[in-house]
């Protein structure tokens, strides 16, 4: 083909990064044919991942998660609320994902990124995992629901004084550097922040308000002596993959996400339940085999991530 | 933005360097100032100040509006409100207390720029000073039996008004640096040629109550100190001038 020859000629005379900019797909296909990605990774391999717990001193729980260059800072602040009449023994979790203008050249002040509400919603779905409000059913179904399908956190653990006070958990996740797989990094930082969370000790004051007291002072009316940590069951971990022809690229960078339009995000929990499988359109159709491959990659990744998380948690305890 | 030709720019700069500005003033001379008070009957206090072609209105009342750009408001706050603990504030905030720790007056000061020909901050500062002198807050009598937890009942008098002591209200002096020299009360034309400007609010005691710098160019610290001492000197004249104008305006208002 005359055309491809012409651009082949062009490629010889321009710098690699210019070629990459002008013909990104061709650039990547050269690499994919050799089963390697421009950053030197194998196709199914995720980038280096680190977790640092307690990055924010002013928060009750916080974590900084990095997947490659993508950096997320998650922090939890606990506030007190009056629980709703329908669920007097339950607290509440509000999850917000922010992309401040520092994180990417595409975000400008006053114009929130398109991904912001979408990722917020996805995180809330995966972490809270509530399908719809559950009412009008027998206790038995409730029980089923709780054992099997409840979220990572039991909202009942957030109760302080039944019907009077419960914790409102504000989880805010800030993207500090955006380089693809935002949801994966955001979820990881959120999970890590929850494992770092230390619930403050509170006691009721004369006005009926709850205030933070220090444990050492031996205050008598501590409301939540036992519940200092949330028990996390069924922790979800995720992996985003990119589909292109027959290739599956795990943990894409921002560049890879824009070049290949087909993304598949799989979230599995530690009980091997499928929490989320997200494939929003894209040029490539996902067949059973590729879905299975993505799930298999996620299973592997889950083990890696769990290890990284465990290490960072035990690292904290040593300190 | 003013479209000035190169020649006009040179003329302005050259005039300032020779201490003869384009409207005939010297570097440290103000334009004629005129003050009118009590121009908004609904407000607790109000004043209109004209400085050359710059005209601003300030009013003091219970509710606020948002006519001023944030930047101006912040600069004014900085000049008038003093430190977090209240030291150096324009008015003694304790005069606003009705019951210690329970109820106090909230003063809303609105500034409105009617026409702008430079030096807005100084004009607004003067207008606020005049408006505050013009302000009377109703005397509030605390109804008896208001001890304990409940909200105390407050009786607001329709006839008796308390006047503020406005002698502590500072004036704002903006020194605009054009070329190597600085001038007071710059017109919009002159402001377009400035390299930087320092607004200093000074009270009657000669204490600095606030300072803010505009314009990008750096200034030598010694120049800033020099500007502060010039501002103090200029402020004395300005305060005297304003006080007499305000007194005259008040007298006018009572007559009419």
């Amino acid at each position: 083909m005359g055309h491809s020859n012409a651009s082949g000629d062009l490629s010889s005379e321009m710098e690699v990064d210019a070629f990459r900019r002008l013909f990104p797909l061709r650039f990547y296909e050269h690499h994919l044919a050799e089963s390697i990605r421009p950053d030197g990774r194998a196709l199914g391999k995720a980038r280096d991942t680190t977790i640092e717990l307690g990055a924010v001193a002013s928060a009750d729980g916080s974590a900084l998660a990095k997947i490659g260059l993508t950096t997320m800072l998650a922090a939890i602040k606990m506030e007190v609320m009056t629980p709703s009449k329908e669920s007097p023994d339950e607290g509440c979790i509000a999850i917000d994902f922010h992309m401040p203008p520092i994180c990417s050249p595409l975000v400008r002040p006053g114009r929130p990124a398109e991904a912001e509400p979408v990722v917020s919603k996805q995180l809330a779905d995966t972490i809270l995992r509530h399908v719809k409000h559950f009412y009008g059913h027998s206790l038995l179904l409730d029980y089923f629901f709780k054992v099997l399908y409840s979220g990572m956190i039991d909202l009942k653990d957030l109760s302080l004084v039944s019907g009077k006070a419960a914790w409102m958990v504000y989880l805010d996740i800030y993207c500090l550097d955006a380089d693809g797989s935002l949801f994966d990094a955001a979820l990881l930082s959120a999970i890590a922040a929850f494992s770092h969370l230390q619930i403050p000790v509170v006691s009721m004051n004369d006005d009926g308000k709850l205030i933070v007291v220090s444990e050492e002072n031996g205050e008598k009316d501590i409301v939540n002596k036992e519940k200092r940590k949330l028990s996390l069951n069924r922790i979800p971990f995720s992996l985003t993959c990119v589909l292109h022809k027959n290739y599956i690229l795990a943990d894409p960078t921002a560049e890879e996400e824009t070049i290949f339009e087909t993304l598949v995000t799989v979230v599995l929990d530690t009980f091997d339940q499928l929490v989320y499988l997200y494939k929003p359109g894209g040029l490539v159709l996902a067949f059973t085999s590729s879905v299975q491959d993505c799930i298999a990659l996620t299973r592997q990744r889950l083990k890696e991530l769990q290890k990284i998380l465990d290490e960072s948690v035990s690292g904290m305890e040593v300190d | 933005m003013l479209g000035l030709s190169l020649g006009e720019k040179q003329f302005i700069k050259g005039g300032i360097a020779q201490d003869l500005r384009s409207d005939g003033r010297k570097r440290l001379t103000y334009r004629p100032i005129s003050v009118e008070t009590g121009i908004i009957p609904q407000a607790s206090g109000s004043a209109r100040v004209r400085m050359g072609a710059t005209e601003v209105i300030a009013s003091v009342k219970g509710r606020g509006g948002e006519e001023l750009s944030t930047e101006l408001s912040v600069a004014l706050q900085r000049c008038l409100l003093g430190g977090k603990s209240g030291a150096g504030a324009a008015i003694d905030l304790s005069s606003l207390v009705v019951i210690e720790g329970k109820i106090c007056w909230d003063l809303y000061i609105d500034g409105l720029v009617v026409s702008s020909d430079g030096n807005l901050l100084d004009a607004l500062g003067a207008a606020i000073k005049a408006a505050l002198s013009n302000t009377g807050i109703p005397r509030a009598n605390v109804a008896s039996g208001a001890s304990g937890d409940g909200q105390p009942e407050v009786d607001i008098s329709d006839e008796e008004f308390l006047q503020f002591d406005t002698s502590g209200v500072p004036v704002i002096v903006t020194l605009t640096k054009v070329g190597k020299h600085y001038i007071v009360d710059a017109t919009a034309e002159e402001e377009s040629q400035m390299s930087s400007a320092v607004s200093i609010s000074v009270n009657r005691q000669g204490h600095i109550c606030g300072l803010t710098k505009r314009g990008g160019a750096g200034l030598d610290p010694s120049i800033i100190l020099d500007m502060i001492s010039v501002a103090k000197h200029v402020s004395e004249q300005l305060i005297n001038k304003l006080d007499s104008e305000i007194a005259a305006a008040e007298a006018d208002e009572e007559e009419s």
């Binding site: 005359g2 062009l10 990064d17 210019a18 900019r21 002008l22 013909f23 797909l25 061709r26 050249p105 | -």
Partner: protein, 173 residues
């Protein structure tokens, strides 16, 4: 040419007196104290003047360890992708300046009268360009236009020869 490559300087550091040194790239002379200052972070290099130059002061340069992305300016040869073609002009996104790719795209316009040197009023923009074409162009002007486009790209040489393949060729099914 003389180099003392290992000295790293940062903006605002004094490199010498203007009586002894000329300010090259990444350096400037302050009119207040006649000193040469660095304006970038990088390595200080002192270049001796060519022996026949009238000014015998050596030039001091700061070569940036990390320069910002390239910015097209008049005279730059740029590679651009045509985004839309109108009757009298085409707009294009500049992707590369010289051989370097830009960090973020700059947009430019190619005016009808700048497409070729002769018979400039007979140029049919729609025959010359398609959206998606990659063109090589010379920046002739940086100016402000109502639409906010900021530079004017000029296509060099003959149309048919220089025309590069359309990009979507390898994407279409």
């Amino acid at each position: 040419m003389e180099e003392d490559g290992d000295v790293v300087v940062t903006p605002g550091e004094v490199l010498g007196k203007s009586s002894d040194l000329k300010a090259g790239a990444g350096a400037y002379v302050s009119p207040q104290d006649h000193a040469v200052y660095a304006s970038l972070t990088g390595f200080r290099r002192i270049l001796s003047p060519p022996p026949d130059a009238p000014d015998q002061r050596p030039t001091v340069e700061v070569t940036g360890h990390k320069a910002h992305g390239p910015v097209p300016e008049p005279g730059s040869i740029v590679t651009a992708r045509v985004t839309r073609v109108m009757a009298r002009m085409a707009s294009a996104d500049i992707m590369c300046v010289g051989t370097k790719s830009v960090r973020e795209k700059f947009s430019g316009i190619i005016r009808q009268q700048d497409v070729r040197a002769t018979e400039i009023d007979k140029v049919d923009m729609h025959l010359s360009f398609h959206a998606g074409d990659i063109v090589r162009a010379l920046v002739v002007q940086q100016w402000f236009q109502l639409v906010g486009q900021r530079c004017n790209a000029h296509r060099q040489g003959k149309l048919s020869k220089e025309r590069l393949p359309r990009l979507e060729d390898d994407e279409m099914k």
